[in-house]
Subunit: 306 residues, 2 copies
């Protein structure tokens, strides 16, 4: 067991991310005390039953008192309200961070409200599952995943190092980049994939000539893979798209352009172009497996027959 890195951790929002941080920080002994805030009485009740924290609060302002590390684990669209709410109660020298999937908007929402005496270092652990809520979290969620920090040029190097240590303590690798670059990188590695997954599931549901029952029965042909990320939290993802509009629309434009070119190859029977793309994409999966970001087990290691 290492010496705790922080005395008091405040987690604002105890869903999948917040509860995974709470469990991991406890298991690894990264903090002495955990305060949890959530506006949902159901979430607080589950957090209590699961013994996720030392104190539970309906208001984020009460939770952040005396906290050395404050982590917002709320939908991206809620960050401004939380920043306003907690600003006066933040302890001087506290590190304030978040786990939002968008960084530019979070900075614009929070920065104006936070006092100058705290260290604001936006963050994003690239890890999750399709499940939500306090019960969905687990201590190993961040193991071998990447956490991206987007401190600006004024950020204190010691505070960055302390937050980096916390994420490493949870098992994550840490990388630093600008908020704008983060938002573009995540648009292609996360946001647009979610959007096209949501979209094809919607298209399938709406086809007049194919029944919903047929779509479900024969989904093992590939479709079911998409339904996993299309089952992710609707509020969280609505906010991601509304708050990373520019990068999402830019990358989506490239996707659509490529798709229409591919459709044209099919229409004109351009076999070699199809074969070349399908070979190139195979190599990228091998690279992801090689970097430890994916299992080499066939079918994601799904149980046989499921």
């Amino acid at each position: 067991m290492i010496e705790p890195l922080f005395d008091k951790l405040a987690i604002v929002g105890i869903g999948l991310q917040g509860s995974s941080i709470a469990r991991g920080a406890r298991v690894k002994g990264l903090v002495r005390r955990i305060a949890i805030a959530d506006t949902s009485p159901d979430h607080l009740e589950r957090a209590e039953a699961l013994a996720l924290g030392d104190s539970l609060h309906a208001g984020a302002d009460a939770a952040v008192e005396d906290a050395d590390l404050v982590i917002l684990c709320v939908p991206v669209g809620a960050c401004e309200d939380v920043a306003k709410l907690i600003a006066r109660d933040l302890k001087p020298g506290a590190i304030v961070t978040d786990v939002g999937s968008v960084k530019g908007s979070v900075v614009r929402q929070m920065r104006p409200h936070l006092p100058g005496h705290v260290h604001f270092i936006p963050g994003h652990p690239v890890a999750g599952t399709e499940y939500s809520g306090p019960d969905a979290g687990f201590a190993e969620l961040f193991e071998n995943r990447w956490c991206i920090l987007t401190p600006d040029e004024t950020a204190d190097p010691t505070a960055i190092a302390r937050l980096t240590g916390f994420w490493r303590g949870l098992g994550a690798n840490v990388e630093t980049m600008t908020a704008d670059h983060h938002d573009l990188v995540l648009a292609i590695t996360s946001h647009v994939p979610h959007l096209i997954a949501y979209n094809i599931v919607g298209t399938a549901a709406d086809l007049e000539e194919v029944t919903q029952s047929e779509v479900m029965k024969f989904s093992a042909g590939g479709f079911r893979d998409f339904t996993r990320i299309a089952a992710s939290d609707p509020t969280m993802w609505r906010d991601v798209f509304l708050h990373n509009k520019e990068a999402v629309i830019e990358v989506l434009g490239r996707f659509t352009e490529d798709l229409i070119a591919l459709q044209r190859h099919i229409r004109w029977g351009e076999a070699d172009e199809l074969f070349d793309l399908f070979t190139r994409t195979r190599a990228i999966r091998r690279g992801i497996i090689g970097m430890g970001q994916e299992t080499p087990a066939p079918d994601f290691g799904r149980r046989k027959g499921s």
Copy 2:
């Protein structure tokens, strides 16, 4: 152990599908003898090492002699050549079927060459993994999956029943429909999902502002899910798109139309429309899990940290 349903099974093409059928038929005692044909010396060598069949043949014509059941497990584009090659050697009364992901084209390719004294019943087990070749197969591949048969109106009911029994013996559920309907259903449940997976992996590889290393590192945000089906066999999938052109282009048109509407919702900040779609799609995954076609385990049951 049940009484074997067929005396001699001939499998033409010993890749993922063929080798899974061979293993399953052996394990379940569905046939007395298995003859295997493959044009690849490497595949035949592996088939021998794995003891997948009783006889191995470089030519499909030799393998189908005396066979009661002949299953083509070759890329869809190779069906006409195989039909021509085996036509004269087929035993009267034999059942000839296949596992191709497209049915209309397979009928058009094979029907003109097959003798009137065999029962031609096209088939498609909707099951697979992203791996290819004789070593990738396993006996349980078809368990709890659906196999679609597309017999025409002249097909012999007894032959259909015998083939249905064979697939049920491998653990599959069997459904019958027209070749045209199959090709439309699979366009949405399999072909277009594969195409958009291949496409987004290609788009990601080609972005100038995001490095390949970044795409791989941060792929756990959703992107990596798509790389699985985009790692499927390039020859097989090239043929699928070339041979189901009309249905693929039709469904792709719907997908693109929906995607552009979704992009517009994002551009104009139409939050409720996004939320409604993202809620609707969640229900479809629950339906697929309820029908036993998907695991409820978070993240497909991937090992934690992979």
